[in-house]
Amino acid sequence: MQRRSFLKGTLAGSAVAVAVGAGLLQPRLVLAAWPKSAFEAKAVQDAVSGLYGSAESTPSSDITIKAPDIAENGAVVPVSVSTTLGNVTSIGVLVEKNPTPLAANFELAPNAKGYISTRIKMGKTSSVIAIVVAGGKTYSARKEVKVTIGGCGG
């Protein structure tokens, strides 16, 4: 009996090891790990430069941010970013006045369209900034969203 449970234990253990190995071996679009410093940055500039190497970005009218003008609940603000720019490699979503502005970054493969939609939290009324990296250049757009109830701690 003891031997049997021992065997069971080792089998279960190795199955977990295989699962972890498979997870690590998944093909990645970029090798970069989760950009901790960019997500912890307290200023928009630092977050953008931490992600894309440079804080410089060109304002572009080819980026559309779809977000409500007034968000009744800051905990759930639907945001869509779409762009007509070609060769889009990343789309970043930042909230200027959140404690840590960077909300999300999306790395896109060449066959992905320049469109992303998600829901974010906003502490208070702020600009939502979209950063689009297309063809090696960084573009940005912003949209003001009024928040009536904050999403952090409220």
Binding site: A104, F106, A112, T118
Partner: protein
């Protein structure tokens, strides 16, 4: 089998596939206080969501705690056919993970 935390749907229209997914996750920011104890609730949020089509990553999302509770993600891509497999997987800051697959309709 436990119910997946991800609900995903992929639809082909013309040459563009639109994928929409909802993930069940509490997305704790680490800045909220427990009202009873006054202590900060530790951060617990999804850091990476990988969206694959036929084994190739199409979108890699890197998220911070400012993504809403029970996150929603939608993206579009080209070059897929009906019946292809979409795999969506996430991993959070505590190393928990889940994945699901769906077929393009």
């Amino acid at each position: 089998m436990a119910k997946s935390t991800i609900r995903a749907r992929a639809r082909l229209k013309g040459d563009t596939t639109t994928v929409k997914a909802l993930i069940t996750h509490k997305m704790e920011t680490g800045q909220r206080k427990d009202k009873k104890t006054g202590k900060l609730i530790p951060a617990h949020f999804i850091q990476e969501v990988t969206c694959q089509h036929n084994g190739k990553t199409v979108v890699l999302a890197q998220w911070g705690p400012a993504v809403s509770k029970n996150p929603y993600i939608s993206y579009q891509f080209t070059g897929a056919a009906a019946g292809d497999t979409i795999i969506i997987s996430w991993v959070d800051n505590k190393g928990e993970k889940d994945s699901t697959s769906t077929k393009i309709k």
